[in-house]
C-alpha cells in the first residue's frame, strides 16, 4: 500500500510530495543505517577474526631479517698455515630484482668504484644472465673511500647493497686452485636444491670445486642474523637484535703448504702434475696440477677476459691432472714389473741379451736404445730402462702376474679421498681385454703393457702411491685430511730382499749408471732413487716425440723416493708432452731438494722464474693485461658467459666420463716401439703386420 503510493505516478500535490519525502527519507536513513552496520561488522571482522593474520603481515612488513654470511672455515696445511683464509673486506653487490634502471645504476657504480670498461661490461654481462634475488657481485676488496662513496648515495641506487664482510683468500692462489677448488655465488640450481635463504644472501659463497665443495657443510658454519626495523622504502630505522655468526670449522690438510707452492711454481711453463707423499703415513704433502687458475679471481665469477684466457689455453688449466689426467706411464712401471718378476721367482741375475730389439711373432719390438744394451740383468734392465729385458721376461712370466702386481701397487685403483672424482685408468689383462673388446690377449699386448704403453693408463696420484709402496714395502693409502688416528700401514708382504734389489736399481738410475744422472740431489747425505719414463703419444709416422707440435710430444715421467736407504718421501712427476723423462726428473729433483734444503731449492727456482716471467700469479697478471689490451670490451670472440656456463665449464674436469687423455694415449697403439732415444730410429718395423693393429 505504502509502496504503491511511492510507485504511483501522479504525485502531484505539495501534500503528496511531502508524504513521499517523509517515506523516502526513512528509506534513505535505513540504507545509511544498514551500510553503517555493514561497515561496523567489516571492521570487527578485520580486526578480530582476521587479527592474527594481519598482525603477522604487519610484523613481516616491519621486521627485516638480514642474514650475516658466516665466515668460512679455514683450510690449513699440515703445520697450521692457512691455504685458504678469509679477508675482511668491503664489497658491493647488486640485486637484479630491485634494480630500477639497471644501465644507469651500473654506469653510476662504474664511476663511483672506478671500474674499468671491461669490468663494467662484465658486470652488464652478469646482470643480463642473472635473475631474481640472486645477488651479483660488483666488486669486492674495495678501499674505504670507494665503499663510502657508494654507501652515501644509496638512496639514489636502489638494488645496490654495500657490505662489510669477509671474502675468501687463497694466499698462494693458483698453486692450490685444483687442490682446494674455489668458492662462488650459489647458482640457481644449487638454490633450487637447497632452499636455504643464505644462498641468496649477498656476499655468501659456496664451495664450487675441490675440497671447498666436498667439505661445504663443514666449512660453511652458521649464519648470523640481524633483525632490523625497516620502512617501506627499505630504510633501516633501528636494530632490533643481532646474532653473531658461527664461523665454519677449519679443515686441516696433510699438505705441506710451502712445498705445494714450490712444486706449482717449479712446473713453470709446463703442463704437468707433481704428487709428493710421505711413504710412512701416506700423507699427501703436495698435489699440484699446472697450469691452474687463480681461485681468488674465480670467487666473483669469471670475467670475459679471464674466460678467454682459460679457453684459449691448450694446457687446459681447468683440468686437475693429478686426479683427472690419464697418461701411459711408460717405463716408470718397470720397478713394479721387476717386483712382479721377483715374486714370480725370477732370479735377479737372470739375464738376456739386448741387441736393440726383440722379435715377437712376425714383428720386431725395438729397445729405445737401437744399438742394444748387450747383456742385461734385472738391475741393468731398470737403471738402463732396457725394454728388451722386459719384453723377454714378461713373456715368460705372463701378463696376469704383472697386472696383479700393478693393482697391488695402486695402478688402476681409486683411493678413498675427499675429491670430486678420480679417473682411475686401466691396468690391462687378458680378462679385461676380452670383456672390453672381445679379443684374445696377444703376446704383443704383454710386451706393450710391460713398458707402460698400449692400454695401460694411470694418473699421477697412482704413480706416487706406487712409488711409495715400492719405497716402504707398506700398503700406503694416500691421505689428505690431517689428524685422526693415523692408520698403521700394513706390510705389502714383499720380501725385503726383493725390495732391496729394486731400490738398488732405482738408486743406480739417479746416482749411478742410469738414465737420470742429473737428478742427483744437491743435498749431502741424501740420495734419491727413481725411475724415468717416456711415454709416446703419437706414432712415429706422425711425430718424433721430441719436438714438433706440442701435443705430439712424448709425456715425461719420473717416480722417485728419498732418502734411498731409509725412504721417507715418495714423489711422482708428470710433464704432459714434455718431450720425455728429461723434462720430469729435474722437477722431481728440485721438489725433493726443497724437502731437505728449502733455501737451495728456492735459489734454483728464482733463477728459473726470471726466464719464465715471474711466478704463476705474475705471469697470469701479465697475460691478463695483454688480453685486456688485445681484446678489450668489444671482444666479440668471447663465448656467452653466463655465470652458470662459466661455472659449468670450470666443473668440466670433474665431469664423470671425461677421460680425454685416453684417446691420445691409445692413438699410437699400432706402433710398438716406444722409448724413443735421442738418436731417433728410422721407421719402426719394415712391414707392420695388419694383425697387430689394435682394435679401435
Amino acid at each position: 500500500m505504502n509502496w504503491k503510493a511511492i510507485w504511483r505516478m501522479p504525485t502531484t500535490s505539495p501534500a503528496l510530495l511531502r508524504q513521499s519525502f517523509e517515506r523516502r527519507v526513512v528509506v534513505l536513513g535505513a540504507v545509511q543505517g544498514g551500510l553503517g552496520v555493514l561497515l561496523a561488522s567489516r571492521l570487527a571482522y578485520l580486526s578480530v577474526a582476521q587479527n592474527e593474520k594481519y598482525q603477522l603481515e604487519a610484523e613481516s612488513n616491519r621486521v627485516n631479517l638480514t642474514l650475516i654470511p658466516p665466515r668460512r672455515g679455514w683450510v690449513l696445511d699440515r703445520n697450521g698455515a692457512p691455504l685458504a683464509s678469509n679477508r675482511a673486506d668491503f664489497r658491493v653487490d647488486v640485486i637484479p630484482e630491485r634494480l630500477v634502471d639497471a644501465d644507469k645504476t651500473v654506469n653510476q657504480l662504474g664511476q663511483l668504484l672506478q671500474l674499468t670498461a671491461i669490468e663494467v661490461q662484465d658486470l652488464k654481462d652478469k646482470l643480463d644472465k642473472a635473475h631474481g634475488f640472486q645477488p651479483v657481485e660488483v666488486k669486492s676488496g674495495l678501499d674505504w673511500e670507494r665503499f663510502a662513496a657508494v654507501s652515501v648515495r644509496l638512496p639514489d641506487l636502489p638494488g645496490v647493497v654495500p657490505q662489510r664482510g669477509f671474502s675468501r683468500f687463497y694466499p698462494t692462489g693458483p698453486s692450490v686452485g685444483h687442490l682446494i677448488g674455489y668458492v662462488g655465488p650459489a647458482s640457481a640450481e644449487e638454490y633450487e636444491k637447497d632452499k636455504n635463504p643464505l644462498l641468496v644472501t649477498p656476499g655468501y659463497k659456496v664451495g664450487k670445486d675441490g675440497l671447498e665443495k666436498h667439505y661445504e657443510t663443514l666449512l660453511r658454519g652458521q649464519p648470523g642474523a640481524r633483525r632490523v626495523e625497516v620502512t617501506a622504502s627499505g630504510r633501516v630505522v633501528r636494530d632490533l637484535d643481532t646474532r653473531e655468526d658461527v664461523p665454519g670449522k677449519p679443515l686441516h690438510l696433510t699438505i705441506n703448504g710451502p712445498l705445494q707452492d714450490y712444486a706449482a711454481r717449479r712446473l713453470g711453463l709446463e703442463s704437468g702434475a707433481v704428487v709428493v707423499m710421505d711413504c710412512w703415513t701416506g700423507d699427501l704433502l703436495a698435489m699440484v696440477s699446472m697450469p691452474s687458475f687463480d681461485p681468488n679471481s674465480f670467487a666473483d665469477g669469471i670475467g670475459r677476459i679471464e674466460w678467454k684466457m682459460l679457453s684459449d689455453d691448450d694446457h687446459v688449466p681447468l683440468r686437475n691432472k693429478v686426479l683427472r689426467g690419464l697418461f701411459p706411464p711408460g717405463s716408470t712401471v718397470k720397478p713394479m714389473v721387476a717386483l712382479a718378476f721377483l715374486e714370480a721367482g725370477l732370479s735377479p741375475d737372470d739375464a738376456t741379451n739386448c741387441g736393440g730389439g726383440l722379435r715377437v711373432g712376425n714383428r720386431v719390438f725395438h729397445c729405445w736404445n737401437h744399438g742394444g744394451h748387450g747383456r742385461v740383468d734385472m738391475a741393468k734392465g731398470i737403471y738402463q730402462s732396457c725394454d728388451v729385458y722386459f719384453y723377454h721376461f714378461a713373456q715368460q712370466i705372463g701378463m696376469d702376474k704383472i697386472a696383479a702386481m700393478a693393482k697391488r701397487l695402486g695402478l688402476g685403483q681409486e683411493f678413498p679421498l675427499p675429491v670430486a672424482g678420480q679417473s682411475y685408468g686401466t691396468v690391462p689383462d687378458p680378462a679385461w681385454k676380452m670383456k672390453k673388446y672381445g679379443k684374445e690377449w696377444a703376446v704383443f699386448d704383454t710386451v706393450n703393457a710391460t713398458i707402460g704403453q698400449g692400454y695401460m693408463l694411470v694418473n699421477p696420484l697412482q704413480q706416487a702411491v706406487m712409488a711409495s709402496r715400492i719405497a716402504s714395502g707398506l700398503e700406503i693409502m694416500p691421505r689428505l685430511i690431517h689428524g685422526g688416528n693415523q692408520p698403521q700401514a700394513k706390510s705389502m708382504g714383499f720380501s725385503q730382499e726383493h725390495l732391496d734389489i729394486v731400490h738398488a736399481a732405482m738408486n743406480e738410475v739417479v746416482n749411478g749408471r742410469g738414465t737420470a744422472g742429473r737428478a742427483k740431489l744437491p743435498v749431502p747425505g741424501v740420495e734419491m732413487a727413481g725411475k724415468t719414463g717416456t711415454a709416446q703419444v703419437v706414432g712415429l709416422n706422425i711425430g718424433r716425440g721430441k719436438g714438433g707440435l706440442w701435443k705430439h710430444r712424448d709425456h715425461g715421467h719420473f717416480i722417485c723416493f728419498a732418502p734411498f736407504d731409509k725412504p721417507r718421501y715418495a714423489a711422482a712427476v708428470v710433464i704432459q708432452h714434455g718431450g720425455g723423462s728429461g723434462a720430469a726428473y729435474p722437477v722431481a729433483r728440485d721438489v725433493m731438494t726443497y724437502l731437505f734444503d728449502p733455501g737451495k731449492a728456492m735459489d734454483v727456482l728464482l733463477e728459473m722464474e726470471k726466464g719464465w716471467g715471474g711466478t704463476p700469479q705474475e705471469r697470469m697478471a701479465a697475460k691478463y693485461a695483454f688480453y685486456a689490451s688485445q681484446y678489450g670490451v668489444s671482444a666479440p670472440v668471447v663465448s656467452p658467459q653466463a655465470q652458470e656456463s662459466a661455472v659449468a665449464a670450470a666443473d668440466e674436469p670433474v665431469a664423470p666420463r671425461s677421460q680425454p687423455e685416453v684417446r691420445e694415449a691409445q692413438a699410437p697403439a699400432p706402433e710398438p716401439v716406444v722409448e724413443v732415444s735421442p738418436p731417433p730410429a728410422p721407421a719402426a718395423s719394415p712391414t707392420p703386420a695388419p694383425t697387430i693393429v689394435l682394435p679401435q
Binding site: 511511492i6 510507485w7 505516478m9 501522479p10 504525485t11 502531484t12 500535490s13 505539495p14 503528496l16 510530495l17 511531502r18 513521499s20 519525502f21 517523509e22 523516502r24 527519507v25 534513505l28 536513513g29 545509511q32 543505517g33 551500510l35 553503517g36 555493514l38 561497515l39 561496523a40 567489516r42 571492521l43 570487527a44 578485520l46 580486526s47 578480530v48 582476521q50 587479527n51 593474520k53 594481519y54 598482525q55 603481515e57 604487519a58 610484523e59 612488513n61 616491519r62 626495523e229 625497516v230 620502512t231 617501506a232 622504502s233 630505522v237
Partner: protein, 370 residues
C-alpha cells in the same frame, strides 16, 4: 539550569552535533599527531585550526535566512561552475594537473565546492518547480543537466571520486523531491548496462586497474593493490584495542600510503583498534541522524531537500572512504570527513554542517511561508 548561566546565543547552538564533531576532530588530530611521528606539525595543529575557523563559518552561516540561501543558490552554483571551468582551462594551459587555487592557508578545489552547491541548486529548483511537473520530463531534464555539466567537468580532470559524490548528492535530492521511482529503477538498469561499457571505453587505464585490483587486491601486491592490502593489514593488525597511541608500525614505517589523508581511518584503527573505529562510526551515526532529523523536521520543501542533500553528501564521503580502506570499495581519492588532513574537504563538510544548522534554526524561528 544551563539557560540561566550560559548566554542564550551559546545555548541555542546545536550542541548535540557540535560536541561529537569536536570530539571526532580532536581524535582525528591525535591520529595526525601520531602519524607525524609525535609532532603537531605539519598536520595535527592545522587540522584543529581549520576546524575552529570553519566551525565559526558554520555558526555564521547558521544565521543566514532561508531567503538568502534561496537567492544565492543559482549565483553560487554558476560561480562554482565557472571556477571549475577556469581551473580546468588553467590546468590545460599550464600543461600540468593543477586543479586547485592557492588561498594561502589552504588550497581550494572548486570541485569540492560543487558538492554542496549542487544540492543547494537542486533544492531550489524543485522548490520552485510546480508540484504537478515533478513527475514529468520538466522535472527530470533540467535537474539532470544541472548535475551532468559539473560532473562532466570534474570527470575529465580526472577525478572520479568527486564526480561520483556530485552525482550522488544530486540524485538523492531528485529522489527525495519525489521523482517517480521507476525513473530511478530505469536509471539503475541503464547504469548496469552502461557501467561495463564505461569501464571498457570511458575509464582511464589506471582507473580500470583500480577497479580490477579492488576485485582482487592480492593480484598486484606491490602495485595499486598495495594500498588496499596495506590498509587492511593496518586495520586488521590493530585488533580490538589497537597497538597503542604512537605505536602504529604500518603508518610510521610508511607502509600505509596517504596515512594522513585518504587512509587516515586505517592509521587510526591500527593504533586504536576496533574501539576507535566504532567510535568514529558512532560519531558519524550521531551527526547523520541529527542531520536527517533536521531534514524531517524542516518547515518547507526547500529546507527539506537542502538538509537531506547535505546529509547525503557527508554520508557519501564517510561511507566511500571507510569502505575503501576496509577493502569494500575501489581506491578512489575521497578523504574521511573531519579526520583526514585537508582543507577542501573540511570546508565542504563544514558548509554542509553549517547549512544544516541554519535549517535547524529556520524551524525554531520560521521565516517566510512554507
Amino acid at each position: 539550569m544551563s539557560r540561566s548561566i550560559v548566554p542564550a546565543t551559546v545555548a541555542r547552538q546545536p550542541w548535540q552535533v557540535i560536541l561529537p564533531l569536536t570530539a571526532l576532530v580532536l581524535f582525528g588530530s591525535a591520529v595526525l599527531y601520531s602519524a607525524a611521528g609525535g609532532h603537531l606539525q605539519p598536520w595535527a595543529l592545522t587540522h584543529v585550526i581549520r576546524f575552529v575557523l570553519f566551525l565559526a563559518m558554520a555558526v555564521v552561516m547558521s544565521r543566514f535566512s532561508r531567503e538568502l540561501f534561496k537567492l544565492g543558490s543559482y549565483p553560487i552554483y554558476f560561480a562554482v561552475l565557472i571556477l571549475l571551468v577556469l581551473v580546468e582551462m588553467l590546468g590545460a594551459i599550464g600543461g600540468g594537473s593543477q586543479r586547485w587555487l592557492n588561498l594561502g592557508f589552504m588550497t581550494l578545489q572548486p570541485s569540492e565546492l560543487m558538492k554542496p552547491a549542487i544540492v543547494l541548486v537542486l533544492a531550489r529548483f524543485f522548490d520552485a518547480l510546480p508540484a504537478p511537473m515533478t513527475s514529468s520530463w520538466r522535472g527530470l531534464v533540467p535537474a539532470g543537466g544541472l548535475i551532468a555539466v559539473p560532473a562532466a567537468f570534474v570527470i575529465i580532470q580526472p577525478d572520479l571520486g568527486t564526480a561520483l559524490a556530485i552525482c550522488f548528492g544530486g540524485f538523492v535530492v531528485m529522489f527525495l523531491a519525489g521523482l517517480p521511482l521507476r525513473w530511478f529503477v530505469a536509471g539503475g538498469l541503464a547504469g548496469m548496462i552502461i557501467a561495463p561499457l564505461a569501464y571498457f571505453f570511458g575509464l582511464h587505464d589506471y582507473q580500470r586497474k583500480r577497479v580490477l585490483i579492488f576485485m582482487d587486491p592480492e593480484s598486484d601486491p606491490l602495485g595499486s593493490g598495495y594500498h588496499i592490502t596495506q590498509s587492511k593489514i593496518a586495520i586488521g593488525s590493530g585488533g580490538i584495542f589497537g597497538k597503542g597511541f604512537g605505536n602504529g608500525s604500518q603508518s610510521h614505517l610508511e607502509y600505509l600510503p596517504e596515512a594522513h589523508t585518504d587512509f587516515v581511518f586505517a592509521t587510526m584503527a591500527e593504533e586504536w583498534g576496533l574501539v576507535g573505529g566504532l567510535f568514529v562510526l558512532l560519531v558519524f551515526f550521531l551527526v547523520l541522524r541529527w542531520g536527517l532529523g533536521v531534514a524531517r523536521k524542516a518547515p518547507d520543501r526547500f529546507s527539506q531537500l537542502l538538509a537531506a542533500g547535505m546529509v547525503a553528501t557527508i554520508f557519501f564521503y564517510a561511507m566511500i572512504n571507510t569502505m575503501m580502506v576496509m577493502g569494500l570499495a575501489p581506491v578512489v581519492g575521497i578523504p574521511l570527513p573531519f579526520m583526514s588532513h585537508g582543507g577542501s574537504s573540511m570546508m565542504t563538510n563544514m558548509i554542509c554542517v553549517g547549512t544544516l544548522m541554519a535549517i535547524d534554526r529556520w524551524r525554531v524561528r520560521p521565516s517566510g511561508l512554507s
